[in-house]
Structures are given as C-alpha cells and as structure tokens.
C-alpha cells in the first residue's frame, strides 16, 4: 500500500467532526476539574489523618496510601466500575473515572501536603502559640501559608497528571477527548494523523498552560523569599 499523507492529514475529518471533538474536550475538562476538587479533599483528609497523634489512625492512613500507590489506576477504576455494582453501588462511567482519579491522586496529594507542613520550621508554630494564638489560628495563619508554596510544585504536578490520566476514562467509554478521537479513527483511518495530532495539541495546550500558571503562582508566593535574598 502506498502512503497517502493527504488522506492521513485530511483536515475535513476535523472540521466534519468538530462538534463531537469540542464536546469531548469539554468532557475532559469537566472530568479533570471534578477529579481535582475531590483529590484535594481526599488529600487534605489523608494528610490530617496521617499526622494524627493516635498511632492507629496514622497507621491506617499510611496503609491506605501504600495500597493506592502500589496498584494501577486502571485496576482501581475497574474495582469501582465493575466491582461496586455487586455491592449494590452502581456508578456511571464518568463517576467511576472521576472517583478513581480522585482516590489515586488524593493519596499522592496527602503525602505532598504532609511533607510540606513538616518542612515548616517547628519554631514558627511554637512562636505563634507563645504569642497567645490558638492552635487552629496558628495552623491557618502561620503554618499553612508557609507550607503551601513548598507543596505547590508537587500539587501542580498532580493536577497535570490528573488531566493526562483522565484519558483512561475512554476505557469505560466516558465520551471525553481520547474516546471521541479513538471512535472516529476506529471507523476509518482517514484523517488518522490529523486526529491524533489535534488530540495531542489539545492535551499539550492544557498541561502547558497549567504548568505556566503553576510557575507564575510559585513566583508570586515566594516573592518575600526573593526580597530577603536580595537584601
């Protein structure tokens, strides 16, 4: 067979399917946003449990984190999607994918937050207490604002990972970008090249702008450090 680049990169494949493609892109963004919000919640809860004074609680959180980090995201999604109906809980493909992404990423986020909080010098919290601030006020006003910039690069990495891994939603037929493109390509190889090129550019634009946003945020939050360094 002769190579036919004109057919492989036929732009009509994109323009003819533009509605489907845009809907897929929008679903990818929704699925990612949903997962990011839940992953943040899971991560915060895990980091609190993990630094609990009660050994049983922190050990249980640790075991949970190791279980999640030691198993593939895809298998976690299958447990939720194929397994949970036999427990009487039926999840839609989108819910199963979002929940799997959130639980998976949440385990990593929990550890990022915990190590960031630990990296804040103890004296900072102790000084707050010595000044007569309550425990919660000390955490919220003194410790967390200093921990957040430390955690930020790791958190941005997790957000980008969620966007990329949301593509596995296509495996349980969530109609997101990867699923839409695979389905169109499965019908005909015509436009194969331009379809996957468009898909790759879409993900590159998303992950690239998230990375740029992260760098700007990081610069802003560490401005005080720069100023000290120059003084």
């Amino acid at each position: 067979m002769k190579l036919d680049f004109q057919a492989l990169f036929d732009p009509r494949q994109v323009t003819d399917n533009i509605d489907l493609l845009l809907a897929g892109a929008w679903t990818t963004i929704q699925l990612s946003a949903l997962s990011i919000v839940f992953a943040a919640a899971v991560g915060i809860v895990l980091s609190v449990l993990r630094s609990s004074r009660w050994k049983v609680v922190s050990a249980a959180a640790r075991v949970w984190i190791e279980l999640i980090r030691g198993t593939p995201l895809l298998v976690q999604m299958y447990i939720l999607y194929y397994g949970f109906p036999s427990l009487g809980i039926t999840l839609s493909p989108l819910a199963a994918a979002a929940l799997a992404l959130a639980l998976n990423s949440g385990a990593y986020v929990g550890e990022i937050l915990r190590t960031a909080i630990q990296a804040v010098p103890r004296a900072q919290g102790e000084s707050g207490r010595a000044m007569g601030m309550g425990f919660i006020a000390t955490q919220v006003r003194i410790v967390y604002p200093q921990a957040f910039p430390i955690a930020l690069p790791g958190l941005i990495g997790e957000v980008i990972d969620i966007v990329k891994w949301s593509a596995i939603g296509s495996i349980v037929v969530v109609p997101e970008a990867t699923q839409v493109v695979s389905q169109i390509v499965a019908q005909s190889y015509r436009g194969f090249g331009i379809m996957f090129l468009t898909l790759a550019l879409f993900y590159l634009a998303l992950t690239g702008s998230l990375a740029a946003l992260g760098r700007r945020l990081e610069k802003r939050m560490t401005r005080h450090r720069m100023r000290l360094a120059h003084a």
Partner: protein, 221 residues
C-alpha cells in the same frame, strides 16, 4: 451485606500469576529502554550543539505533556494507518512505555548529573584523570547513588502503567483479569486479587531499590 467469595478467583491464580510475570517482563524491558533513552538524552543535553539540546527539551515536553494512553494508541494504530500490515501490539506498547517514562528518567538523570559538584570534576582533573575516567569514576557513581530511589519510583509507575497495554490487546495481567472476571462472574474479587498481585510485585521493586541504594551509598560517611 454481600459476602466476598474468592475461591473461584483463587482457582485461576496460576493464570493470573503467569500473566503477572508477562507484565513484569514488559515492565523490565520498558524500563531498560527508558534508561537507554534517558542516558542518550542526558548525553545530548550536555552537547554544545544548540539543536541537540533543543531537541531534548521538545522531546521531554511533548512526551510528558500528553497522556500515556494517547501515545499507546498512536504507536498501535500508526503502523496500520500508514500501511504496515502487521505490527505487534507488544512492541508498540513497550515502545510507548519506554518513551513516556524515558522522558521522566531523562529529567531525573540530568538533574542528578548536573548536581555533581563542579569542584569534584576540577579536583579529578587536577589529579591528572582523563575525561572518560572522570566520567566513570567521579561523575557516574555519584549520579547513580542519587538517582536510584527516584528511578525505582519511575519503574514502579511504569510497571503499573503497563496495565494500559490491555487496551491494545497485549495479553498481560489486566487482560487476564477481564477474562477471569467474565468466567467467574466475580468482578470485585477478581479486581481485588489483580490489584494485590500488582501491589506484591511493586513492593518487590521498591524494596529491591532500597537494597541497591544502600549498597551504592556505602562510600558515604
């Protein structure tokens, strides 16, 4: 409350373990190729040619900026789309894994390599060591010691991600899981056992890395 019954799944445990070894094989080959890609990338990024350094940056950005699943699909479909009649999904999948994780490996290795203090290289040179000797005796051992733990992390991730090759029909552990789920009609038990098998091999990788790391850092005071 539903009672879990693992007996039918355990009856198929030998099939699952055989498939797990196949997955592990993909993981090892993929990681070996990723290390090769990473080493080549570090070498290119140390070159004087601006084009070579630019190419490395573009490679890293493109492969880390797009989903692994999309890369797997491209490597699987592309040969058929351009008219290559038969292309093994095993090769397509392993190459995709190697290139995706190769980009991460490259960044880890480059960071560690550039982190070796310049004073060490200067000291070695003033002792009359040749460039190659400096690389093998001074730069490489210090790079390896720093790099083992993050590389083991990438190996574990690559091994887990090999489950994505089930999508293009590589008969690894997750595909076997699908077959056994259909045969036993015990989905939750099947996937819990599959998860347990991944966890087991993953732990071996991480514990093995701890051991290697300890051996490689014996010289540290």
């Amino acid at each position: 409350m539903l009672e879990l019954n693992f007996a039918p799944v355990f009856k198929a445990l030998d099939q699952l373990l055989a498939a797990a070894l196949y997955s592990l094989g993909i993981g090892i080959v993929g990681m070996a190729l990723a290390l090769l890609v990473g080493t080549l990338g570090v070498a290119l990024s140390q070159m004087r040619s601006r084009a070579a350094r630019r190419a490395v940056l573009v490679y890293v950005d493109v492969f880390r900026g797009t989903p692994l699943l999309v890369q797997v699909l491209v490597f699987f479909y592309a040969p058929a789309a351009v008219g290559v009649p038969f292309f093994s999904p095993y090769i397509a999948g392993t190459v995709a894994l190697a290139l995706y994780y190769g980009a991460y490996v490259l960044e880890i290795m480059r960071g560690a390599f550039e982190g070796v203090p310049a004073g060490h290289v200067d000291a070695a040179r003033s002792l009359g060591m040749s460039g190659a000797r400096i690389f093998w005796r001074i730069q490489l051992p210090q790079t390896l010691a720093v790099v083992i733990s993050p590389l083991a992390g990438q190996f574990a991730r690559l091994f887990k991600a090999s489950s994505l090759l089930s999508v293009i029909g590589v008969t690894e552990l997750t595909v076997r899981g699908h077959i056994i789920m259909t045969n036993t009609l015990a989905p939750i038990e099947t996937w819990l056992v599959v998860a347990g098998i991944y966890l087991f091999f993953n732990s071996i990788i991480l514990i093995g890395a701890l051991y290697v790391e300890r051996r490689l850092t014996l010289w540290r005071p």
